[in-house]
Amino acid sequence: MAETNVEHSAASIDRPDGMQGVIADWASDQRAFKGVPWGKAMMWIFLLSDTFIFSTFLISYMTVRMSTAVPWPPSSELFALHMFGADIPLILIAIMTFILITSSGTMVLAVNYGYRLDRKKTTLLLIITAILGASFVGMQAFEWTKLIHEGVRPWGNPFGAEQFGACFFMITGFHGLHVSIGVIFLLIVARKVWRGDYEANTERRGFFTSHKGSYDIVETTGLYWHFVDLVWVFIFAFFYLW
């Protein structure tokens, strides 16, 4: 392993940059993505496929919303909460957005401390990220419960176009599933970091890969987590604000 890593080490200085670099890297009959560990490249490719899944959801939402002849339910009022003696529009969604951004920040710090070989801080930051993610899912469950009580169903609702429910449950449900899986993923990696699996002085190997892991696994986990945040940015804009 060590030899291949040296041989394939980060982008060397003598490689061309820009468009020539693209062609040279792809045509090099070896590893195409210089300076990217295989796990990270695979995560990026998975995220690319996930981008297509979420985009098709959002595009089908666009299609049904554009084509319905019935007014779309007013999302701003629908997602309002009664707080401090007034109805504040979209407040829960805004809080969820800020929580997810905060968790993205703690994640990026975890990646950084991982590369600094600071086991304690990395574990702590990963656990904080997981807790923030779990609270996001909790709020989403609260939001679903509220809407279901108000009579929103995948096949209809009392507020307007029937397609609203189907879009809402499908898009936010699929995103919530991603967050939940992310929380599990974060906790698993946090445990491994804490146990010292990625330290140089251990020979502990991964369960699936039977290779020794290193701290770039934290970065790969981070990519997944930021992607979940990224998707929420689009859902927030198109579903809740539009």
Partner: protein, 111 residues
Amino acid sequence: MSSTTEGQQHPLGIYFKIWGLLFVLSAFSYAVDILEFQGYLRWSLILIFMLLKAGLIVAIFMHMVWERLAIVYAILLPPLALMVLMALMALEADYTHLTRLLYFLGGIPLK
């Protein structure tokens, strides 16, 4: 240790700046709803804030600005195909909408 040399390591300052910026941009997009902007102003502001946030997350938090162009293109160009799907579905949705107005809601009022 050899593989840790491949990792993306950057000073913490940039992350804190971007983190703050994301908070501000989120507050702005929420303000679009609070201030009840309507029509094209609302849609363009939503899109601008959304794209800025998405760009910052991908570029800095996901380290895309520091990666080599080969992987940047491999990941960021394919989603452009979705623009074609979006255009096609928008055309289709327009057509469906018109037929629904025509047959379900008693016809389009002629001027």
